[in-house]
């Protein structure tokens, strides 16, 4: 007779090897584990950008003067804008309505006079406000271009031109202001949710569906061993997905990693455990793959996508929604990811968020262990 501990180890090893063999054979789990992360990273790294670049703007010069020409040339040389000249305001408005341009910059006939008299702003800006986010960006960029031109213009002439308000901004933590730099780290949380919760929920439900769990629980295997037999392989797979994402972020998208990799791996482990715990709880409640998949997408993947602060800023959400985000594990991990990547090891942010993850992991594991049936009913 074998020593009981040795048998325990043998059973667990058998379950883990089985799980890896199944992952290797099943194209759909390989797809979720590797193809989806790469696809999402490429999509968000290259395709989706929250920056405004090459924005088409219409320029209306009501009276041509060297000053007006110089100002409109500033737009032509900017990478943020593509300028189109219109003879009068009416034509420019038509183009704005047809959404051919996103903003109109109008230099009235009294541009020169107002420029030197310091009375009021000599230019009129009309921005298409349908997409509020982009509108804010565009008006900011126009303001910036105007300020820069003004400084340059004054320096060239050796005169001083004061403006009612002169803004000088410095952006910290993402000094290039590339949206990719905060999207890609946040995406890692989404990818790990996918592997941890969705994949685990699916493979566990598959055991119910195919009747293999019935054969499994009639063997000396314990519930803890069955759970560990699922957790260990998918933990490793999830961490693999995380390392892949970090590597792509740093080497392909040139996202700076200011904090330490160890902090990422340790907090990543905590988040992975939460995701796995959720996946297991879902599969215990829904014993078929279709339902388990639907639930996993609705209660883990979608919230991680839209309510974690990964794309949409939590602070600008309505208060009711903000309070819901506290229930979403991805929120804490996105905060950690963005901090560690862009600001470094800021313990004041990392520690409270990591504690929240730890608490959630313990909660879901206790629930899974309690709810995991030891029998068929």
């Amino acid at each position: 007779m074998n020593h009981p501990n040795k048998e325990k180890y043998m059973r667990l090893q058998g379950l883990i090897i089985k799980e890896f063999l199944q992952i290797r054979r099943d194209p759909s789990s390989l797809g979720i584990a590797f193809a989806m992360p790469v696809f999402l990273l490429l999509l968000f790294g290259y395709g989706v950008s929250l920056d405004a670049k090459h924005v088409p703007v219409g320029i209306v010069l009501e009276k041509i003067s060297p000053e007006a020409r110089s100002f409109s040339a500033a737009f032509e040389h900017s990478e943020y804008f593509v300028s189109i000249h219109f003879a009068n305001m009416k034509l420019a408005q038509q183009a704005l309505e047809a959404r051919k341009i996103s903003a109109i910059i109008r230099l009235r006939s009294n541009f020169n006079r107002q420029l030197y008299s310091h009375e009021s702003a000599p230019i009129q800006v009309i921005v298409d406000g349908v997409d509020a986010n982009t509108a804010r960006l565009i008006s900011g960029y126009i303001q910036g271009t105007w300020n820069q031109w003004l400084i340059q213009f004054a320096a060239q002439r050796g005169i001083s031109l004061t403006q009612p308000i002169m803004l000088e901004q410095r952006i910290w933590y993402n000094s290039a202001v590339r949206s990719r730099n905060f999207l890609v780290p946040g995406l890692i949380a989404v990818i790990m949710t996918l592997i941890g919760a969705l994949l685990t929920a699916l493979v566990m439900a598959r055991e119910w569906e195919r009747g293999t769990l019935e054969a499994l629980i009639a063997t000396p295997v314990s519930v803890t061993e069955i759970l560990l037999g699922k957790l260990i392989p998918y933990y490793l797979l999830g961490m693999g997905g995380m390392l892949l994402s970090i590597a792509m972020a740093v080497f392909l998208f040139q996202v700076p990693l200011l904090g330490s990799l160890w902090v990422l791996l340790i907090t990543g482990t905590l988040f992975m455990l939460v995701a796995l715990g959720m996946g297991l709880v879902i599969s215990i409640a829904a014993k078929n793959q279709f339902v388990a998949g639907q639930i996993a997408i609705i209660i883990t993947f979608l919230p991680a996508f839209i309510m974690s602060g990964f794309i949409f800023d939590i602070d600008s959400m309505p208060p009711a929604i903000q309070s819901i985000t506290y229930l979403i594990a991805a929120r804490y991990f996105v905060a950690i990811l963005q901090t560690v990547f862009l600001a470094g090891n800021v313990w004041g942010i990392i520690i409270p968020n990591a504690l929240a993850l730890l608490f959630m992991a313990l909660f879901f594991f206790a629930l899974a262990l309690r709810r995991m049936p030891r029998r068929l009913e």
Binding site: K18, A215, L216, L376
Partner: protein
């Protein structure tokens, strides 16, 4: 190593076990105060109609379910609180074998060896012994999902035998498995019992399998109706089993006339005779002596286990009026020589694999035509081509006078098809399923109403008409599936393993209906793994690896294997001999 604790005498003991299941407002008493003991070394067969509680009893024994009241002990270990000890002693194979289909044969074996803690020192030797015993040695690298039904079953068995369990629990191990594989399964079980001092409890729908057991337990609606040795079951029927033949009546007619008569418990076609179970030992009470049965020949025959099974169950569930009386089916003139199905030189390839090879046969109107063969012989492929669900690679197929390559849809309107899996909408009620299938066949208004009424009455589904079809017992599902296939009154009915896993009582009802359909001129094509059912067919075709092995009437086929050693071969003997002769 001793499996049993000192005081345990029985391998398995159940004391006053009750188990109830409830879903929603319905609750079912799966087991009602069941008490039984099984001796060490016994091979016990669990038989009974669908829903009798066979699977529940096995799951309780495996510790997968908890009894509501009562105790279950395995070699003295209580299944409720000594589950770990029980799991060390048992090997359990669920109905679907519990295999990981995306793992290879060797990987499945290794997994179960790990799970049962089989030490590495004995492992290799057991693998080899089991692989050669099951004939799987050549397939160790193949994925379990790509094995035939018979091979899956043997692999499932090998996985449960790895730990050399003291108590082997098998839930319907031979459903959907051909006779050759079944015979191999039994030789493995019998060898294990002798070599390893194993006790076996298995449920089965095959009474010839139950006959090989040392004890048989007959369950019905959660009660034990009888628990005895097969010999004792048969002894109780002594003098009540007869075989009849009539010079003037065909077997099917004779059977029809006899079934439902008072004092006739059962009448089935067996070879060229009709087997009758009489209600008492005095033959004179049988109503055989009027003019209708002129010249009838009666011979006494040795009772089978099935006779006792039917007699005991009939006492609990008397024949209902619809089952006894021939239903009022539309009778078309039967022109016996009219060929309704003609198959000429048909091939079917799947990639490089030829599933069907140069098939030639024809079926006449009103015939019951059986298609037999081991798993993977090409029966289902042939069926699908005949129904126009799968195009032929080469050759000609005409069904109901329509060339299938030209007008498959036209032919499909005249055929009914009932697939192995029954193809019902599990979340729809019985009535909704009937409604859907009649609308799919284009039945309207009064016609639809009439057919649905006919189906509910004819197939005795009235009481369950609002039940979801997924919640019905297997026998009911089979009836509903057959009703759905008949909604549009097809000329030809295709039945693919209609009775797989269905109990003998329900099978009889099924064949009564099928016979009546044939008598009214419907042509029936059927595949089956029950060899005694092959006897009910007018003509048979046995396939092997896509080829025709032999064809003819049941009597002609059995004639081929008749010898001095085997003067009266059964259909199963014939099947196994013919299939094996071809292999060697």
């Amino acid at each position: 190593m001793s499996h049993s604790s000192a005081e345990a005498i029985f391998a398995l003991e159940l004391q006053a076990v009750n188990k109830q299941f409830s879903s929603g407002s319905r609750s079912v008493n799966a087991l009602r105060s069941v008490s039984l003991t099984i001796d060490k070394g016994a091979v016990v067969g669990l038989v009974g109609p669908d829903g009798a509680g066979k699977t529940t009893l096995l799951r309780l024994t495996a510790g997968l379910l908890l009894p509501d009241t009562g105790t279950i002990t395995v070699f003295g270990h209580n299944c409720t609180d000594q589950l770990a000890d029980v799991h060390r002693l048992i090997g359990y194979m669920p109905q679907r074998f519990g295999l990981y289909e995306d793992l290879s044969v060797a990987e499945n074996l290794k997994l179960y060896a790990d799970l049962h803690g089989v030490s590495h020192s004995v492992r290799e030797q057991r693998f080899q012994a089991l692989m050669s015993m099951t004939g799987l040695a050549a397939f160790t690298e193949r994925l379990a999902g790509q094995l035939s039904g018979g091979m899956k079953q043997k692999l499932g068995l090998a996985c449960t035998l790895l730990s050399q369990p003291a108590l082997l629990l098998l839930d319907e191990p031979s459903v959907g498995v051909d006779p050759v594989s079944r015979r191999e399964l039994w030789s493995i079980i019998e060898h294990q019992v002798k070599a390893n001092d194993m006790t076996v409890l298995l449920s089965t729908a095959y009474l010839d399998e139950a006959e090989r057991c040392s004890d048989v337990i007959l369950l019905d609606e959660g009660h034990i109706l009888a628990h005895n040795s097969p010999a004792a079951f048969k002894q109780s029927m002594q003098g009540q089993s007869y075989r009849l033949s009539s010079p003037s009546l065909s077997n099917r007619n004779l059977q029809n006339k006899l079934s439902g008569q008072s004092d006739v418990i059962d009448a089935v076609i067996q070879g060229d005779k009709v087997r009758v179970i009489s209600a008492n030992k005095d033959l004179a009470t049988l109503p055989l002596f009027n003019a209708e049965f002129e010249g009838i020949r009666i011979e006494a025959t040795a009772p089978r286990l099935e006779d006792a099974f039917i007699a005991l169950l009939r006492a609990q569930h008397p024949l209902t009026a619809t089952q006894a009386i021939s239903p009022n089916v539309k009778t078309t003139t039967v022109i016996n020589d009219a060929t309704v199905i003609k198959v000429e030189g048909v091939d079917r390839w799947f990639g490089n694999f030829q599933a069907v090879k140069k098939l030639n046969f024809s079926v006449n109107r009103g015939e019951i035509f059986g298609l037999l063969g081991a798993n993977g012989a090409g029966k289902t492929t042939t069926f699908r081509m005949l129904c126009g669900l799968l195009p032929v690679s080469n050759g000609q197929l005409s069904v109901a006078g329509v060339d299938l390559s030209k007008a498959a849809a036209k032919a499909r309107a005249r055929i009914g098809y009932m697939s192995q899996k029954f193809s019902l909408y599990e979340h729809l009620s019985v009535l909704q399923n009937l409604n859907f299938f009649s609308s799919a066949y284009g039945l309207r208004n009064a016609q639809r109403k009439n057919r649905i009424q006919w189906a509910l009455q004819q197939f005795e589904l009235e009481a369950e008409k609002n039940t979801n079809s997924g919640d019905l017992p297997l026998g009911y599902k089979q009836r509903l599936a057959m009703a759905c296939a008949l909604m549009h009154e097809p000329e030809i009915l295709f039945l693919d393993e209609p009775t797989s896993g269905v109990d003998p009582l329900a099978r009889r009802e099924f064949w009564n209906r099928t016979n009546q359909l044939a008598a009214s001129g419907v042509t029936v094509l059927v595949t089956t793994h029950f060899m005694e059912e092959a006897e009910y067919c007018d003509r048979l075709l046995i396939m092997r690896e896509g080829d025709i092995l032999t064809s003819g009437t049941p009597a002609e086929i059995k004639q081929q294997v008749r010898s001095v050693d085997l003067p009266e071969p059964t259909m199963e003997d014939a099947f196994i001999q013919l299939v094996e002769a071809k292999i060697s």
